[in-house]
Symmetry: C2
Subunit: 432 residues, 2 copies
Amino acid sequence: MPARPSTDRPTDVLVVGAGLAGLPVAWELARRGASVRVVDRGAPGGATSRVAAGMLAPVTETEPDDPGHLAVGRAGLERWPAFAAALHAASGIEVPLHAAGTLALARDRDEAEALGRFADVCARFALPVERLLPSAVRRLEPALAPTLRGALAIPGDAAVDPRVVVRALTGALAGHGVEVVRAGVERLLVDGRGTSRASPADEQRAGARRAPRATGVALDDGRVLRAGAVVLATGAWSVDGVPDTARVPVRPVKGQLLVLRDPSGPGLLERVLRFGTGYVVPRGDGRYVLGATTEERGFDLATTAWALHDLLRDGYELVPGLLDLEVEETLAGLRPTTPDALPAIGPAAGVDALWWATGHHRNGVLLAPLTGAVLAEQIAGAGSSGEPILDGARVAGLVAPARFAVAPDDPTPAVPPAPPTPRPTVPEDARA
Amino acid sequence: MPARPSTDRPTDVLVVGAGLAGLPVAWELARRGASVRVVDRGAPGGATSRVAAGMLAPVTETEPDDPGHLAVGRAGLERWPAFAAALHAASGIEVPLHAAGTLALARDRDEAEALGRFADVCARFALPVERLLPSAVRRLEPALAPTLRGALAIPGDAAVDPRVVVRALTGALAGHGVEVVRAGVERLLVDGRGTSRASPADEQRAGARRAPRATGVALDDGRVLRAGAVVLATGAWSVDGVPDTARVPVRPVKGQLLVLRDPSGPGLLERVLRFGTGYVVPRGDGRYVLGATTEERGFDLATTAWALHDLLRDGYELVPGLLDLEVEETLAGLRPTTPDALPAIGPAAGVDALWWATGHHRNGVLLAPLTGAVLAEQIAGAGSSGEPILDGARVAGLVAPARFAVAPDDPTPAVPPAPPTPRPTVPEDARA
C-alpha cells in the first residue's frame, strides 16, 4: 500500500467515511472485483460506530408499527448471520452474534400498559413475542429487580460488538488491498455544472445539457482522489460541494451511554434488556452497555451529568447489581437521522456516479450488511452477488435517497423536514 | 539538569514522592539552602494530589470535636496565605485561595439534627460558625434546592486547585535547580543493620551497637541515589527496606469524585458546600468538584457505577443545576490514612536520617505548607525559617511518627491498629 495515494490512479469507487456504513460498502464492492478506496479524517469506526450498542433488533429498536421500518430492519437482520460468517472467513476475526434475545420490560403501570400496546402491534404483524409474568422473567434473568411489573420476550433479536465488526471489516479490506486514506475531505468534485451554490433551476438547465457527475474528492491536505463513483457514508456530517438536488437532510441526534464492566466476568445478565427508551446490552465478556439518551443538541459531544445520572438510575431500578460494576467508559455519539428516520441508501438524485449510505439513525449496526449489499448491487450491477436481498426491490425503494429530492419547480421535498423532536422509540417511554 | 542523576554526587536530602507532601518539603529545604533531589515513579502530583478537591477546611473537613485534629488543621490553614504568596513569588504561578467560605447543609431532619450537634461542638471550641435559615442561605446561593432544611456558614474555610499548587511547586523547585527523578524506588538503603527482614529484637541489638541510618534508595532501573537524609512522602504506598521499628501504619482509603464543568462559565455557586459526607467545591472558573466516596478497597482505583450514581444523586438533591453541567473528569484517588487519621510528619523511630511525611488522609492539601515547614525545620535545624509554626511544639508532637513505633519488647503499637471502617467525618452522615 503506498504511503500517499496516487492522484493519477483513479479507483472504480471512492467511499467517503470509514464507519459501519462505508466499510461494508467498500468490502462488498471489493469482493465483487471493484477497485475501491476509503477516505476518513479519523480511524475506521472512530466516530459514531465505536459508540453504538450493537443491537440487531428490528422489532424493539425500529418502529414495528410502521411496515416500512419493520421491512428494512428485518431485511437487515436477515443478512447478519451470513455476513458475520463471510467476514470471519475473510478477516480471520470472529464476529460473535449474541442471540440470547431481548426482554422488553416494564417498571411501572404506565410502562406495563405501553408494553401491552407494543405486544398488540407485534401480534398484528405476526411477530413472535411472548408475554411473561414477572416471576417467569426473573427466573430467566435473576438479576432483575423484584419490582418488575411485566415483560415481553422477543426471541429473534441479537447483538454484536460494533468495534469487533469494524476490526473485521478493516482486516477484510486489507485482504483486498483496499487503501483507507486518513485525511479530511475538503469537497466533492462534480463535473458538468457551474458552482456548488447553483440554484436547483440552474442545475436543471445544466442537467438538460449534461448531467453533473461526481468524479472524486479534494482532500484538505491538497491531494485529489479520483474515482468512477463516489459513495458518501459520512454519518451525521456533510461534505461540501454536493449539488442541492442531491442532498439528503440528515441531522445529528446525540446519544450518551456507559460501558460498565463486571470485574468478576460475565454472568449478571444474558439477554438484551429494553425499558422505556433505555437498554442494557451484555457483551458476553462481563461488559454491559447501558444506554442511551436521545438529544437534539447539534454536534455537541459532551458527557453530561444528567445523562450519567439518569442512565445509572434507570439501570439501577431495573438491575440493582449494575451499580456494583465498574465504569469502563462514558461515551457520546451522533446518530445520523433523516426526517422519516429511515436511512438513505442508493443513488443521489440528479448527480451521476454519486451514492448515499447515511441516515441510519439508531440502526447503523443492524443495517450494515444490508447497506453494503444494496449499494454494491446497485453500483457493481444487479446479479453481481449470489445472495439476493430479502424483498430487495421494496427495501431499496424505502431507503432511496430520491425521496428527499427537491423538485426543480417545487421547493417542498417529498417528505416533510425534520421534526423538532425525534420520533419516539418503541416501546414508548410512557413516563416521558 | 543532567538527564541521569549522578550516583556519586549525593544530595543533602532525597525526597521520595512528588506529591503535595513531598514537593513542599523539598521546596522548603531548598529555600533554606539544602541540596535536594526528588524521586517519583510518576509525574509530580500525578497519583493522589491531582485527585484532591483542595478544601482548606480545618473545621468541616477535620474532626472539630477532637482538639488534636483541630489544632493540626488550623495550623495548616494558618500557613496557607503566606505559603501561596511565597510560591507565587518563587514560581511566577499564582495560586488563588478561594476564600468564599463553606456552607454546611442539611437536606433532611436527620442531617439538620447532625448540623445542630456540629454547631454545638463549634461553639464549645469558639469556632466562628453561624446558623442560617434556609431562606437566608438561598439568598447567598440561589442555586440551592428549595427543599433545604438548614445550614451553617463557616467563614474561615478556603479552597485551592491542587494541580495549580503542584505546578507552582514544580516551578519553584526548578528555580532552585532541584532535580525531580522519574523512576520507581526499589528499596530504601539503610546502613548499620543486617537485613530488612530483621526482627525488632535484632534491630534493637544492632542499634545498641550502632543506630541504623538511611543513606539513599535503590531505583528499579538499577541506579542508586545517595543522600544525607531521606524523606518518605509516598502517600498510601510503601517502600521496601524500611526497618520495622520505623514503619508507619498507613492504609489506602479510596475516594471517587467528579469534575463538572459549566460551559457558560462560573456563577452557579460561589461557596464550598458540605452535606453528609459529600461536598461541592467551586474552582472559580466554571468547574465544580463533586465528591467524595470513602471506601476501604485496598489499592483499587476503578470508577464504579454506584459512586457516580450516588454522587450525582446527592449533588442533584442539593443543587439541581449541577445535572445540567458537563462531566469533565471522573477521578479516583487513595487517601493515605493512619489509625488515628492524623498524619505522620517527623523523624522515623529508630532509624537515623529517615523522615516521614505521609498519612494526610483527607487533608493533604490543607497540610501541605505545614508539612513542608515542620520537616524543613526539623531536618535543616530549628530557626532556619523566619516563619514560626503556630503552636509548633504541640503540632509536631501530634503528628510525630514515633507514636506508631513498636517497642522492642511490646508488639502493641502506641495507638491501636486500623479500624475496619474509617472514622466518620463531621458533620456525621446521619443517614448512613
